[in-house]
Amino acid sequence: MTALPPLTPRDRRLRWLSLAALIVLLPAAIGVRSYGGVTGWRAEQDLDPVTTEPGKTVSYGGAEWRLEGLYQLRQDDRKSAIILAEFEAKIADPAAFAAGMCRIKLSDRGDKRWLPQFLTPYAVRKARPSIDERVTCGSATIKPLKAGETVKMAETFLAPVDVTKFDLIVSAANVRPAYLVLR
C-alpha cells in the first residue's frame, strides 16, 4: 500500500463545497419528493372558507349558490332530528360545476360535521312532498346542465335535537381548499 497524497487547497475547497451543497440539496430533494403529496392533501381539505350572508348568493365552483332554508324535523326518540337543507345553484359554467363533484356537509358552526343521509327519510317526504322535485348535490353534477339554468337541491342530515344553528358546507374538488359556507 502507498500513503495517500496530502490534500491540496483545491481538494479542501471541493470537499467543503460538497458538504455545503448537501445542506441545500437534501432539503430540496425532500421538498421535490413531497410536493405531490402535499398538493394532493391540500386538494382534499376544506381550508379556506368563502362565507355568505343569509339569503345572499355567492359564486363558487362554476355556479351562484344560495341557501333557501334549513328545517328541523324532530324524531320520536327526542334526542335526534332530521335537518333538511334546501338550496339552489344557478349554473354559470356547466363544465366547472360538473368537475366539482359536489361534497356537502352540515356544520354546527364549530368543529362538528354531519354527512348527508344516503336516502331521504320517509318522514321528510311525507312532511314536504315537494322534495321529490329536487336533486342531491352529487347527482346534480352528473346531470347535463346549461349555463343560466338553476338547479334546485336538497339534502337531509341526522343531528342532535339540541343543536339548532347550522351552516351548510359545499366543497368542490376543482376549487378546494376553498369551500363555501352557506349561512
Binding site: 334526542k79 335526534s80 368543529d111 360535521r113 354531519w114 343531528a159 342532535p160
Partner: protein
C-alpha cells in the same frame, strides 16, 4: 499506519452502527401501521374520530335471528361472541367498517358476515357526532380463542396511521357459553334485545 488503522476502525464502526439501526428501527409497515388506543371492556375509549364503549360480551354455541318473519338458527363448530357497544362519531359522521376478535395467540378473526342482516351491526352503521348509538359486533372463532381475547375496532382495516382500538375483553375463566342466544329485533332497524335460551 495509525491513519490506515483508524480508517478501518471507522468503517467497521459504521457497519456495526448501520446493522444495529437496521435491526432495531421499525420498518415502513410498522411506522405507518394503525395507532393503537388500548383499554378494557366497560371503559369509554376515545380515538381521533370516534368514541366506543363495549357494554356487554356474551358467548354462545348458536344464534337465533328472526329475519323477515322467519326464525333462523346459526350454528358453528367453534363459538359465537356477541358484543354490544355504544359508539359515536367525535367530529364528523363516520362508519367503522373494521371489527375483529384478536385471539390470545395473535390470530385475528374479522366480524362474521354470516349474520349480515342482524340489527344494529357496527360495521354498517353510520355514526353521527353528538348521537351515541347502540351497536352490535358478532364474531365466530374456535373455542380456544376466547380466553385472553381482545376486540379491535377501526374505521377501515388498512388505512395507515388511523386509530385502532384494542379492547381487552376481560372475560372470566368461568365465563358462561350459552347454548343459544336469540337476537330479537326492536321497533327500528337499530333497536334490538338479546335473550338467552
Amino acid at each position: 499506519m495509525i491513519r490506515k488503522l483508524a480508517s478501518v476502525l471507522a468503517i467497521g464502526l459504521a457497519i456495526i452502527i448501520l446493522y444495529g439501526l437496521q435491526k432495531t428501527r421499525p420498518g415502513y409497515g410498522e411506522i405507518t401501521s394503525p395507532i393503537t388506543v388500548s383499554g378494557k371492556a366497560g371503559e369509554k375509549l376515545s380515538a381521533r374520530n370516534f368514541e366506543l364503549t363495549v357494554t356487554n360480551i356474551r358467548l354462545a354455541r348458536e344464534i337465533r335471528l328472526t329475519t323477515f318473519g322467519k326464525d333462523r338458527l346459526y350454528s358453528t363448530s367453534g363459538i359465537w361472541a356477541v358484543v354490544e357497544a355504544e359508539a359515536a362519531a367525535r367530529n364528523e359522521s363516520i362508519t367503522l367498517t373494521s371489527a375483529a376478535w384478536l385471539g390470545p395467540d395473535g390470530v385475528r378473526y374479522d366480524s362474521s358476515e354470516r349474520l349480515s342482516n342482524a340489527p344494529g351491526l357496527l360495521t354498517v352503521q353510520r355514526l353521527e357526532p353528538g348521537l351515541p348509538s347502540r351497536a352490535l359486533m358478532i364474531f365466530e372463532f374456535p373455542e380456544s380463542e376466547w380466553p385472553g381475547g381482545s376486540i379491535l375496532v377501526a374505521p377501515t382495516p388498512f388505512l395507515a396511521l388511523e386509530n385502532e382500538m384494542h379492547i381487552t375483553a376481560g372475560l372470566p375463566d368461568n365465563a358462561v357459553i350459552h347454548p343459544t342466544l336469540a337476537l330479537v329485533r326492536g321497533a327500528s332497524s337499530a333497536d334490538w334485545s338479546i335473550a338467552t335460551e
